[in-house]
């Protein structure tokens, strides 16, 4: 399966337990709507877009998203999360053609 470059960013980088931090997930993906024509071939580019994203923190799903085809190319998903212990944040995502990937970031609160 094609590997995709992606990134989980947490702001601020240093955080404590109980703090609410901003978390962004970005992934390189063409997000084809299925409505656009390729300029050269004049054929419709088939729909290929991320259709679901889940944020899982220490095994608990804290946010989930149903994504439709009109999100921009290389989509970004930003929200907040409350830091509640050391562990892992895993982002799982799928696209409409059956691709499924995940990206993990360690959560290390200071104090």
């Amino acid at each position: 399966m094609q590997k995709r470059k992606s990134l989980i960013k947490i702001k601020p980088k240093r955080y404590k337990n109980g703090e609410i931090v901003k978390v962004s997930f970005m992934v390189m993906h063409p997000m084809h709507t299925g409505m656009a024509k390729d300029k050269k071939t004049k054929k419709i580019i088939p729909a290929k877009y991320i259709n679901s994203v889940k944020f899982i923190y220490n095994g608990k799903e804290i946010t989930s998203m149903k994504v439709w085809e009109s999100l921009s190319v290389n989509p970004v998903f930003t929200t907040y999360m409350k830091i509640n212990g050391k562990g892992k944040l895993t982002v799982k995502y799928t696209d409409n053609t059956g691709e499924a990937h995940e990206k993990t970031k360690k959560i290390k609160p200071k104090g």
Partner: protein, 155 residues
């Protein structure tokens, strides 16, 4: 690659694909989404027929003028304590005129701490963008803003 290069690349690809979009139709029929749904149907589907109420608790941030309809930043923030008994269950971002009015449905939990969601969407032309918010008590709130689009982004 280094983080900063990754970020640069993300921005560049978005800009390039916007400038050279493989997305023009030389006249002819307007393209239709495989998930075609108009705004009113989308709202009814989401609320189950309940009428959502415009509310100042919902802050929708979108540009008044988007030079590039392919990459329009949208941020929705809701004034909510995000406790187990009172939190934002979902933020839906809808468009007035895209073939599929729905762009994303975000399901939050109290573990988010704050009710906010931000992303970038495609707009096929000048239209209203609406944040439709579902609260844990079953209420639906909305906030809308019109975005003028100079180059359409759906193709």
């Amino acid at each position: 690659m280094q983080r900063r290069d990754f970020f640069k690349k993300l921005g560049t690809v978005a800009a390039v694909s916007a400038v050279m979009p493989a997305m023009s139709f030389a006249g002819g029929a307007k393209p239709v989404s495989p998930n075609k749904m108009d705004y009113n149907t989308a709202v009814n589907t989401i609320t189950g027929g309940k009428t959502p109420k415009p509310s100042k608790k919902v802050k929708l941030k979108v540009p008044e003028i988007a030079e590039n309809g392919a990459v329009v930043p949208v941020t929705v923030t809701v004034d909510s304590p995000m406790t187990e008994s009172n939190y934002v269950k979902a933020i839906h971002i809808l468009t007035g005129k895209n073939s599929n009015a729905r762009t994303i449905d975000v399901y939050l939990t109290p573990a988010n701490g704050k009710a906010m969601f931000s992303t970038r969407i495609k707009l096929g032309g000048t239209q209203k963008v609406t944040a439709l918010v579902e609260l844990s008590n079953g209420e639906f709130l909305t906030a809308s803003q019109s975005v003028k689009v100079t180059i359409g982004g759906c193709g």
